[in-house]
Symmetry: D2
Subunit: 342 residues, 4 copies
């Protein structure tokens, strides 16, 4: 942390700032400048120390600006954990050198619908099938999912076809139930800062697939991952799925693909991109999927439905099985170019 | 809903769109235009009908643009419920004609700290005391609250001083516990679309204080309220607390005060403003609090701490008791000007 | 500026950073930390020095994060210019202690329309009349203004009624023309970073009314003002008129009222609020106008048209003369409460 | 346009709306609904008709919501101009089937610096060289460019090496000067809605390279292009260069790659991506450049400097000649995969 004093700050004001820092048992460093003086804190502060210093400084005169100089996450940081993480689930590797695709319908609607979907996923060469059993819907009047019945279907189909399964869990008290049936726990974008849920998901021991909130900064996203990591669960997979759009009239969100190289530089965790939610429009999914691979993503989550026009949710962003298979073919040929196994 | 066809759309394409609409048992209305034709749906669609039509149309050729013409909330709408709602809690009225202030520290830190805070709140003329027992913190390393111990302190202090209490509940399975101790259940901004929590809070029968997510549109905010209302709980209080900032270097959020007249026009529910989180800077709280009253708010939630520089959380946005009392005096004199009881 | 080195940065990497700084003839200060080292630059850098250092550091290994610790504006800063600025135009004072209202139609449409508008402005007690002669319109097919003819009308009406006039100038080569006719030059939000225009407006010697771009941070806004100030023109008036909206379906922009106390703390320049463009909806203008006064604004710019439903531009955000007069009455009674002359 | 009436709107209110529409000589179509009635306007309105109707409706009671059903641009629209545009400049084709790269330094700093830069551009296989002579800088204290001297250098170097040149023009009165020296006129992001400049650039007859403003919606972007097209200049090239960032601490802007497939669907104009400004960080340029090709872009604009650490502007986002050449090699091998000539 560095505190910039106002032009003309008095010695008493400077001393008061130094006292606040010393109360946290850290020795401040005074940096004389040409027209303004700055005070540095040459130590790694705990979150509580930082909070206390900020609060105390906010009441002092003569302070112009407080700047955080460090990054707030540690376990998620590539600086402190130099080896890239590979999450392995039933033989499927999610991490560097591989390119994994998670496909399937937005919602599990019936055994038949999900079985057919999963067969298409498998036939196209993907090894993870997705589907929602508990659906977070903006409107209380929209279809809310099949709940436990949907989970049972997922497990059955996953076992029958030898596919890894992933499904969303919406609250901490449901983690146990969902973890009984599925292989990877998905934390939805709206739940990224549902801290009780993050903690329970972490404790389950299952891999946690964490979607970025549409309003989350990179630091907030990595701090949410830090929650899971700090409870001892190392298998965290990050997912970029679009941030708040500047323009809602053409796409549902703004897929922030530059977050991929940013995340790859700063964290060791795998990064997946979801172009289905990221754009909300099925015809934009394929170009953005290929773009995501080039941006350095470790894989994709893609919505595919046997009959998008009859889907109970998110039909307008779902690929048909044919479109999905064609995209998988394209990705495979590009993956060779990128040196990725697929 | 209205569907704009592309310039030069064929009769077959037009027929296909009409068929999709008729499958939902609604008769489409074709609107000939000068260069493009539009197809209207002259009926109130259910959410599922709308989802189906959108999904089906997304796969059809010749469609240029789909526009929702109606508002998606109903129970929350002033159009369908012409009487403004007043939420009454232990004799305190939150709604038109009154201006209510909820004051208190970010976190309940100890009995003494909370008792002193609450005495200041009461002395300044406010009747509702706030305090956090379960704290949603961005970093896992920050103070997380006293949990149930904090709730017990709140209840004790509320009873001792005759103040209404409000505290945040972070997950559905905790609603029962929190509802045992406090008078109003607060749903935090990060939980605005935590649907299991909204449903449990609704069922508790307690008034629900719903904060707007920093990325929520007005429709998304009112649909979250609609969840609570649709489970039979009519006592919903809305709270504007700042949206995602364009510029994070001077304020923590952008307090969206124009949401106040927008909400007052479209919903019957009371609207409270939180300038403490809305700005994140204590010196901006008083001007924005007074501005909120002028914008038409029904009240305020304000952070006040006996010693902000020693607060365990959010000290930099907390008023001192003296600042809080001075603000209450200012608000009281303005309330007369606005014809509000306070 | 402070440079955070990566965890485990080598001595050679640290030396390389110090060398870059020394090339700008500044002596770096090394700040040892617990797990990461930081390097401070204890001097006020010129913009070019800063640019050079940033560019050079971007190519070096071992650098984790570069943070600006100072504010980039100087002439606009209250720290370096402790006296608040009052801009005086023909006896009208814009600055502390006063509350000034600029009213009038979006566009000058004809002599009669503008004369009637200006009479209403004057009758309601305002002393500055606004009107557009050159209109920046998003669509090339919308009404573009009367051009010089409009300016002549403004001058005539301003002289006849003894009102100060303000109108927008859209390009540097038009400054001379517009300055011949009007008292205050308005720089529109879309032109905030039209630097050739800022420079010409500065040189004209006329007061410059500078609107904030909808995407501008506070620093970018004050740097635009700095352009004008740096060319020797001290009469700069800032105007908040709404930033990019999160939600375009209820308001045209998001009026960022908290920018008012932020600006008042950091600059000596007067701050005006435009709730007409800020909301885009006439019924929200009055509450937001009063809120702006409470937030600490030095005045308002408000669109009023004799017959909004017949306006050639922006009719949906224009007040009627009656609404304008009623708002002026409200503001006058509030101004007494705030200790402002009006 | 479609007007949704409020629930319970009276016949008189409905008639008043219809009258407003009829005043524009269009016959309204009343759409009865289950609980609310809508009124459609089955005609292509002019911009002025639309403005008038909106203004008039804003003053009427009983109106719930006004929705635009059509797109506001026409000449830029792929619907009305089914053939994709190829802009040809001195034998270089910008448009479908080709992938063009514009490389070079942010600023022209000297003959030697620009000549060396251009040689590297050419050696790497690119055919268009960029460089700024008039620099729009946020701070008045930053390097502002060599002005006409810079243009002369560009022309000389372009002629010597047989490269097409592109440079920014910042105001309408400078168009003539800049057009004398360079082949393509660049309109910078801050000037996207500088309408006098757009008009002059259009009239020059030179190809116009139009950068998207960081706050522009797709419609606003295409309407800016519409200005140029409506003055008879068909050679407009669009450039996505990053929108306002949610998070300014890792990238300078948010490169909105999904705008590429959106634009390709809705306009016939070529679309170029600028990952240098889009990210502001040289190490993110290559992945985002390749991602842009996959997203469907027709080319790239990339900053390259012989010695980024000595650049007078934007050094931190400039590639070295070696990085640029390597990227060009990568792009060439990918272009074969995409069926693009390069």
């Amino acid at each position: 942390m560095i505190i910039l004093m106002q032009f003309g700050a008095t010695q008493a004001q400077i001393d008061a700032v130094c006292d606040v820092i010393r109360q946290q048992e850290v020795e401040p460093l005074v940096l004389p400048g040409e027209d303004r003086l700055a005070i540095g804190i040459p130590a790694a502060l705990t979150a509580d120390q930082r909070d206390h210093i900020e609060a105390a400084l906010s009441t002092l005169a003569g302070v112009s600006k407080i700047t955080q100089t460090s990054r707030p996450y540690k376990l998620a940081s590539l600086e402190f954990h130099r080896e890239k993480t590979t999450v392995e689930v039933k033989g499927v590797q999610i991490g560097p050198g591989h390119f994994v695709v998670m496909g399937g319908p937005c919602s599990v609607e019936s055994y038949d619908q999900f079985y057919v979907s999963a067969k298409h996923v498998k036939a196209a060469g993907a090894r993870i099938v997705r589907g929602g059993a508990f659906k977070p819907r903006t409107s209380p009047y929209s279809f809310q999912g099949l709940a436990e019945e949907g989970l049972k279907i997922m497990k059955q189909v996953g076992d029958d076809l030898g596919l890894v399964t992933i499904s969303e869990v919406m609250s901490g008290d449901m983690v146990g139930l969902v973890a009984t049936y599925v292989d990877i726990l998905q934390i939805g974008a709206r739940s990224m800062q549902n801290f009780p849920l993050l903690i329970e998901a972490a404790k389950s021991g299952k891999p946690v697939f964490l979607k970025r909130s549409p309003s989350a900064t990179i630091d907030e996203f990595l701090l949410a991952a830090e929650y899971v990591l700090s409870y001892g669960n190392k298998n965290v997979i990050l997912c970029e799925r679009g941030i708040m759009p500047l323009d809602r009239s053409y796409t549902r969100n703004t897929l922030d693909l530059s977050s991929v190289p940013v995340l790859k530089e700063h964290t060791h965790l795998p990064v997946i991109v979801d172009p289905s939610h990221g754009t909300g429009v099925s015809k934009y999914v394929a170009p953005m999927a290929k773009a995501a691979m080039m941006a350095g993503a470790d894989g994709l989550m893609i919505e595919m439905h046997p009959d998008p026009s009859a889907a109970l949710s998110d039909g307008s962003q779902s690929l048909t099985p044919e479109q999905f298979a064609a995209l998988m073919d394209d990705l495979r040929s590009l993956s060779g170019y990128c040196g990725l196994k697929m």
